[in-house]
């Protein structure tokens, strides 16, 4: 009897637990996915890729930060959703002087901060002054160096007033900007978050004018002027923004909110998309392309992305201090085979350094494939040095399956064409950065994504002594052509000079362009008003959700 009552108890217990589990299951059942509820709620669920380090526009440095800041803030101009050409933002119109050096921006009087405060030209002057403040230590402060005398103030040589920096509010709603020299892409530059305004009373409250890491960017504190306002920020979980009713163009904003999920693992992000948790993924794993092409042909998008994947040579040590070796290494690469057989993600081979079509500039393809010539060049170098074969060359890259695949493919090509042994050296990211910046490499992997749609964003890297150069290459004619290309008002003259830069790169080979990036993403058909753009910028006020199938 004892035994019977015990087993009865047991049965009851099991039953109870079963019921609990069932209740739990049913509760789960009753929850439709994010994407299903999104149409009613008007919420876009966005895969952000990574947690941004800063939400302070003057300290931010990442794509993730851009994706959030462009919802929370707006600059003098905004972007056209398809072409990214400047359209009125806080300024409803502007005038440019004949020499291209002076701009007068007329600010709209109905522009407000998210707390209702009016937004004036003084806010912009305050913001420019803050990012350029030498004590703030802003990484992107140099984006504002085109402002007249900005450098003097930024380098601490003069105070703001002494330097007479070229940003003056002549009226509450008129901002006069004077540049060092004419810059044809100046208005495009204004869409970089380093030019965005910040709310003075908030920054003063948190003493954030020249101090980083203050809590002014937390929800509840953040005051912005963009189409959305910050509602919630849980680190490594979600950043939520909701519609900003004080935004001057609030009536055109159709989304009620956006949730950004910083999902770093690509596979996790894909699972989230497939289970209806996300509308958009930040990226797609290269290994999954074939599967997704078959399963989600209409949702997998290959979009152009303004970026070049390349290797740097170290010109300060042998063997790459000799032009013939660098040239041989470049000529031995079959870039078409690399993108077709190895990458397979819709990338295009880089026969120039600047992606063709950047801002309308089409450079002449010069980094070509010629294994015979490559062999001749290397043989001439070897016989001159009295070597039988080249000592093994080290190729440094940061640990990642994708970089490894490329490095292995190139190793194969170099071995086949030149008989060269390559030692692949992978390093953890921070070790890699420190190694490359100290110049302790022979051949190192790199990539560059344009900050604005102009060839200058790519070509300025190779200016003599530029921090991004890191190859040890310095060339006066290059610097001169770059300067002319940067400042000339005539497009023809600009393209001629940029072509000169490209020619010099292809003559001297400090760098080995390999392929141009594409942006691979999964996007739900209900997301509308979202157009492929070169910088992967998507002004959110034009985005909406709709049941109809995408055309």
């Amino acid at each position: 009897m004892h035994s019977n009552s015990s087993s009865n108890k047991q049965t009851h217990l099991v039953g109870l637990i079963g019921l609990l589990c069932l209740a739990w299951l049913l509760q789960g059942c009753s929850q439709p996915s994010n994407v299903e509820t999104a149409l009613d709620k008007g919420i876009l669920h966005f895969g952000l890729g990574a947690e941004p380090q800063h939400l302070d526009p003057h300290l931010a440095t990442s794509v993730a930060a851009h994706n959030i800041l462009s919802a929370l803030l707006e600059g003098l101009v905004s972007e056209h959703p398809k072409t990214l050409k400047p359209v009125p933002g806080v300024a409803h119109r502007w005038e440019q002087s004949k020499d291209g050096k002076t701009y007068i921006f007329y600010l709209r009087k109905d522009a407000h901060w998210s707390n209702g405060d009016p937004l004036t030209a003084h806010d912009f002057v305050y913001s420019f002054r803050r990012i350029l403040n030498p004590n703030l230590g802003a990484q992107y402060a140099s984006m504002l160096h085109p402002l007249k005398n900005a450098r003097l103030y930024h380098e601490g040589k003069k105070t703001w007033e002494e330097a007479k920096v070229g940003a003056v509010a002549t009226d509450d709603y008129i901002l006069e900007i004077t540049l060092e020299h004419s810059i044809p892409y100046f208005l495009e530059l204004l869409n970089h978050y380093s030019w965005f305004p910040v709310h003075r009373p908030t920054l003063e409250k948190f003493e954030a004018f020249e101090k980083m890491g203050t809590p002014w960017t937390k929800p509840g504190n953040f005051v912005g002027n963009g189409p959305f306002r910050l509602i919630n920020h849980q680190i490594n979980s979600v950043i939520s923004v909701g519609k900003n009713e004080h935004y001057w163009d609030a009536s055109s904003v159709q989304l009620k909110g956006i949730r950004f999920y910083p999902i770093e693992a690509v596979d996790t992000e894909e699972r989230a998309y497939r289970a209806g948790f996300l509308h958009l993924t930040q990226s797609v794993s290269a290994d999954r392309i074939d599967f997704l092409k078959e399963k989600y042909p209409k949702e997998l998008h290959f979009e152009p992305y303004l970026g070049t994947y390349f290797y740097r040579f170290n010109l300060k040590s042998p063997p790459f201090d000799d032009l013939r070796v660098r040239q041989a290494f470049s000529l031995a690469i079959n870039r078409q085979r690399l993108v077709d057989k190895v990458l397979k993600g819709g990338q295009s081979p880089a026969n120039t350094f600047t992606p063709p079509g950047t801002g309308g500039f089409y450079p002449k393809p010069q980094f070509l494939y010629d294994p015979q010539k490559a062999k001749q060049l290397l043989d001439s170098y070897l016989s001159e040095k009295g070597l039988e074969r080249l000592p093994p060359v080290e190729l440094t890259y940061n640990t990642s399956e994708g970089h490894k695949k490329v490095a292995e493919a190139l190793h194969g090509m170099w071995k086949e064409a030149l008989g060269v042994e390559i030692r692949l050296l992978n390093m953890e990211w921070k070790v890699f950065l420190s190694t490359v910046s100290k110049g302790e490499f022979s051949l190192a992997r790199a990539g560059w994504i344009g900050d604005y749609v102009d060839p200058h964003t790519f070509l300025h890297m190779w200016r003599s002594g530029e921090g991004l150069n890191m190859t040890g290459w310095a060339n006066a004619p290059y610097d001169q052509a770059l300067k002319l290309g940067e400042t000339s008002n005539s497009e023809k003259e600009r393209w001629e000079n940029f072509q000169k830069c490209e020619d010099l790169l292809a003559m001297e080979f400090p760098v080995l362009p390999l392929y141009f990036y594409v942006h691979l993403t999964l996007r739900h058909p209900t997301v509308r008003g979202w157009h492929p753009t070169l910088l992967d910028h998507h002004p959110y006020k034009h985005v909406y959700l709709s049941k109809e199938e995408s055309p």
């Binding site: 004892h2 035994s3 015990s6 087993s7 637990i17 739990w24 299951l25 509760q27 789960g28 059942c29 929850q31 996915s33 947690e51 380090q53 800063h54 939400l55 302070d56 300290l59 440095t61 030498p134 004590n135 703030l136 230590g137 802003a138 990484q139 402060a141 140099s142 380098e155 101090k211 980083m212 890491g213 203050t214 809590p215 002014w216 960017t217 937390k218 849980q234 680190i235 490594n236 979980s237 979600v238 999920y261 999902i263 693992a265 996790t268 699972r271 989230a272 497939r274 289970a275 948790f277 953890e428 990211w429 921070k430 070790v431 890699f432 950065l433 420190s434 910046s437 790199a446 921090g467």
Partner: protein, 281 residues
């Protein structure tokens, strides 16, 4: 030690001008001699201040740990509950019905459970319960319905160990004289197990619980990454990659204290369960 790793928190692909790097370093006090920095850190530590995070600008390390720890704790407790709930009965059953299918089946399953990594089991469960059946959210940590899949994935893995340990412990105690005496006095098998054998049989499990719980609570980086859970494991692992010095120190200190505390608890629990352990003291 973290300072001797090459690279620093401010290294980025877009190289920073030297003067800005100097500004950044002085802001975080990295320009002072290492020993001074250490003393300052200890001084702040006494006030419970773990310093600001390098990676998450505007957030204090203690603040980040305080938000992530409850998440890891919930996940840990739930997984442990599942592990014990499945593991102990399975182990007892296997011990009582030694060398029958009731022994072989749970033991082979537990062997499979130990061998099957969570990064295989997790996506498999997501595929079945979320993508196909739509019963649970595939990821995230926003409400109770999000808890099920990750706790189950993590719990099953530990259940496998618990089952094997319970079986071994039970087999040993079932052969003890006092169990035989209880049987001889006519106690029912149920009573023999629950009142007499279980207490001794669970000792190996209790010993295992301490480290297991610490492991569970300290967060599993893999589970957090598969299920996109904002727990401590991610901070712990990525802090080192980001050279987030204060975060590395903060999380290590936190774990160390946690493990010491849990081991103490396990010792006390053992003393309470096992009279022998009390006597040796």
């Amino acid at each position: 030690m973290t300072r001797y790793a090459p690279g620093g928190p401010f290294d980025a692909e877009k190289a920073i001008p030297q003067e800005i790097k100097v500004k950044l370093e002085s802001h975080f006090g990295l320009d002072r001699p290492l020993f001074d920095q250490y003393l300052l850190y200890l001084k702040n530590l006494l006030r419970g201040d773990l310093g600001p995070s390098f990676k998450y600008s505007g957030w204090e390390v203690s603040e980040l740990i305080a938000t992530a720890f409850p998440v890891s704790l919930t996940l840990g407790v739930l997984s442990l509950g599942i592990a014990l709930f499945i593991g102990i009965p399975a182990g007892i059953m296997a011990a009582l019905r030694k060398n029958t299918w009731l022994d072989y089946l749970p033991m082979s399953l537990s062997m499979a459970g130990i061998c099957l990594p969570t990064f295989v089991l997790g996506p498999l469960l997501i595929y079945i319960f979320s993508t196909q059946l739509g019963l649970f959210p595939p990821l995230g940590w926003y409400g109770p319905s999000d808890w099920f899949l990750p706790s189950f994935t993590l719990g099953l893995f530990y259940a496998a160990y618990v089952a094997r340990l319970t079986r071994a412990g039970m087999l040993e105690t079932l052969q003890q004289d006092y169990v035989r005496t209880a049987r001889a006095k006519g106690a029912t098998p149920w009573r023999v197990v629950t009142r007499h054998a279980l207490r001794g049989g669970l000792l190996p499990v209790v010993t295992y619980l301490g480290p297991a719980f610490a492991g569970l609570v300290s967060g599993s980086f893999v589970i957090e990454s598969i299920f996109f859970i904002p727990g401590l494991g991610k901070f712990f692992v990525t802090a080192a990659f980001n050279r987030d010095y204060t975060m590395v120190l903060g999380t290590v200190l936190f774990y160390a204290s946690l493990i010491i505390l849990l081991n103490l608890l396990v010792d006390l629990l053992q003393a309470w369960i096992d009279p022998k352990a009390r006597q040796t003291r």
